[in-house]
């Protein structure tokens, strides 16, 4: 189901091409993900699981969860949610772990066009989302040369799927849609000593700030004097019976599908979670012409802004607090969902079960910071519930316990894109202050105060309570680790 009309978005699609799915000819747009093309063609089951042979579709749509592995042109375990469709591709439903295709090992010739070692750079920024790009702007403006690395084909991170306007003040891009903010940031770096390398996955971060990069199927080494980790977050999974059925997606996956690929995730959706993401995505589903059966929230009150809840309610969608999803119904794909009221101890109240006829369940149950690279390097970590889980301990400069390695944005604690942009700037300023041989101290102080005031303003009020408490804990943790003297 392709979205033909959308009030905000105009989908720029590649030409229609033919491809093969399990011997059947299908059509899709060149360049969109294989998973999106299959979804548009009505295919939900992408593989069967390795031990229990359970049907699986995609879940995260950003190449994290591996639920979407298929065999493509004979190669097994291809992540179809992030692999671009090409004309003539042979896509097969994968069963089990897949079979290694017949390969002939040949001598690898020397290749002068393949510089394995990319040399060194003063500042490497991992992630070209709101935090990473803002870090590049801040550091670049001070004359620090930086490279921004991102695994996605286009920069912007999760901004590229945000059709809603941002809150906050004008200087924080309020009343601008997320999809346009990415463009603004990219414009800002145009004249700066910043290069953005997309399609580049950072596979490892080693002592000495050596980064292992994967680019066009080849390995490269890059050494940096400083590293900013702006790696974002992953969606939380919820454990419930049939929770792995095709048709159950993370909220980010639903946004990717409908706001980037222009494919409706289903006809009727149950949204789990009434935080800002759950409410915003519910509204975006309505904009895309998809029915939302209900929004359920386990807590007795909604977690998101009431403005967003009101918009959803006005459209006739019930937002049910103190309700939870008990289980998904279906054999090969979601055919329904059983929800029920819960008591104060999250126990279902018998007799309150309702069966909803839905073909899609969207999970908006929180995010976990991505801190794998910091872990690999040996940065000290701590679990801070208010920041969304395990994060690298960082001081007020956003520097981790490994000198010269910084975290920013969701990777340093789950917040919003507006705070991610300011944190990115802060990390950029902190890194620049150390990298520059003769930094302009007054200018740095002025810029820093501006950013800190912005962060304070964004974290003020009831919705800033968690991040405020989390960041306060972080300051104490960093002190006990010897940082922030």
């Amino acid at each position: 189901m392709r979205i033909r009309e959308h009030p905000i978005l105009d989908f720029q699609k590649g030409p229609l091409v033919e491809f093969e799915h399990d011997g059947r000819k299908l059509e899709g747009h060149e360049g969109e993900s294989i998973a999106a093309a299959l979804h548009a063609a009505g295919v939900r089951v992408l593989r069967h699981s390795i031990r229990l042979n359970r049907p699986r579709g995609f879940f995260c749509a950003i190449g994290r969860c591996s639920s979407c592995l298929m065999t493509v042109d004979g190669v097994p375990n291809v992540m179809t949610c992030v692999t671009a469709l090409k004309a003539g591709m042979r896509v097969e439903t994968q069963t089990g772990k897949g079979t290694i295709p017949d390969v002939r090992f040949t001598e690898a010739p020397s290749d002068p066009d393949y510089p394995r070692d990319l040399g060194s750079v003063p500042l490497a920024i991992v992630g070209a989302g709101p935090a990473g790009l803002s870090a590049a702007v801040a550091a670049g403006r001070l004359g620090v040369e930086c490279v921004v690395l991102d695994e996605n084909p286009v920069p912007g991170g999760q901004l590229i799927k945000q059709t809603h306007m941002f809150f906050g003040s004008k200087e924080h891009h309020a009343r601008v849609r997320g999809i346009d903010i990415g463009e603004i940031l990219l414009k800002e770096i145009e004249d700066l000593p910043v290069s953005v390398m997309t399609g580049t996955t950072v596979l490892g971060l080693y002592p000495g700030k050596v980064l292992a990069l994967l680019r066009n199927g080849r390995l490269h080494r890059l050494t940096a004097d400083s590293v900013i980790l702006a790696t974002g977050a992953s969606e939380n999974m919820l454990a419930f019976p049939n929770g792995d059925l095709p048709g159950i997606y993370g909220a980010g996956a639903v946004q990717t599908l409908m706001n980037v690929d222009g494919v409706a995730p289903g006809k009727r959706v149950l949204m789990v979670g009434a935080g800002n993401i759950g409410l915003i995505v519910s509204y975006q589903l309505l904009q895309a012409g998809v029915e939302v059966a209900a929004v359920v929230e386990g807590l007795p009150e909604i977690g998101g802004y009431h403005v967003h809840a009101a918009k959803v309610r006005r459209a006739g969608v019930p937002v049910m607090t103190s309700h939870t999803l008990l289980h998904a119904v279906g054999t090969d794909r979601v055919e329904g969902a059983i929800i029920s009221e819960i008591d104060g101890d999250w126990r279902p109240i018998e007799g309150t079960e309702i069966k909803l006829e839905v073909d899609t369940i969207c999970l908006a149950v929180g995010l976990t910071p991505n801190c794998e690279l910091a872990s690999q390097l040996g940065c000290d970590e701590a679990y801070v519930a208010e920041l969304g889980g395990r994060v690298a301990i960082h001081d007020t400069d956003l520097e981790t316990t490994v000198p010269g390695v910084y975290v920013a944005g969701d990777a340093s604690g789950i917040e919003e894109a507006s705070t991610a942009m300011l944190e990115g700037r802060l990390a950029g300023l902190s890194a620049a202050a150390k990298l520059l041989t003769r930094p302009d101290a007054d200018e740095l102080t002025r810029l820093r105060i501006e950013v800190e005031e912005g962060l304070r303003a964004l974290r003020a009020g009831p919705f800033g309570e968690h991040p405020r408490a989390g960041k306060q804990k972080m300051v104490e943790l960093a002190r006990s680790c010897g940082g922030d003297q």
Partner: protein, 102 residues
């Protein structure tokens, strides 16, 4: 919770299997990973680690924040074996024993 609920999607590990492992005395995510393989699949525990830590906490009375996650090692994403080939330097033939052996 229903024993059949899938916790680790990559390796198809159920809630029941994890609870049995905890009852058998495996109370860290690292031990459970080594016995049941959850966290060893292509997603490297990104989907299940958090759920498993919570199950351990519930069963053992520990606080979820105190349950450590398994160690994180490179690579952060699954890579094809061919990626490791080094032009002009590594001959994959020698690994199969059919090439020049000096």
């Amino acid at each position: 919770m229903n024993r059949d609920v899938i916790i680790c999607r990559c390796e198809d590990v159920t809630y029941g299997e994890i609870v049995d492992a905890i009852d058998a005395g495996l109370t860290t995510t690292e031990e459970i990973k080594r016995i049941l393989r959850c966290g060893m699949g292509p997603c490297q525990g990104r989907t299940c680690s958090r759920l498993i830590a919570r199950i351990i906490a519930e069963k053992t009375g520990a606080k979820a924040p105190d349950v450590p996650y398994p160690a994180v090692r490179p690579p952060t994403r699954p890579v094809e074996i061919g990626t490791l080939e080094e032009p002009g330097a590594v001959r994959i033939e020698t690994l199969t024993g059919t090439g020049d052996e000096e």
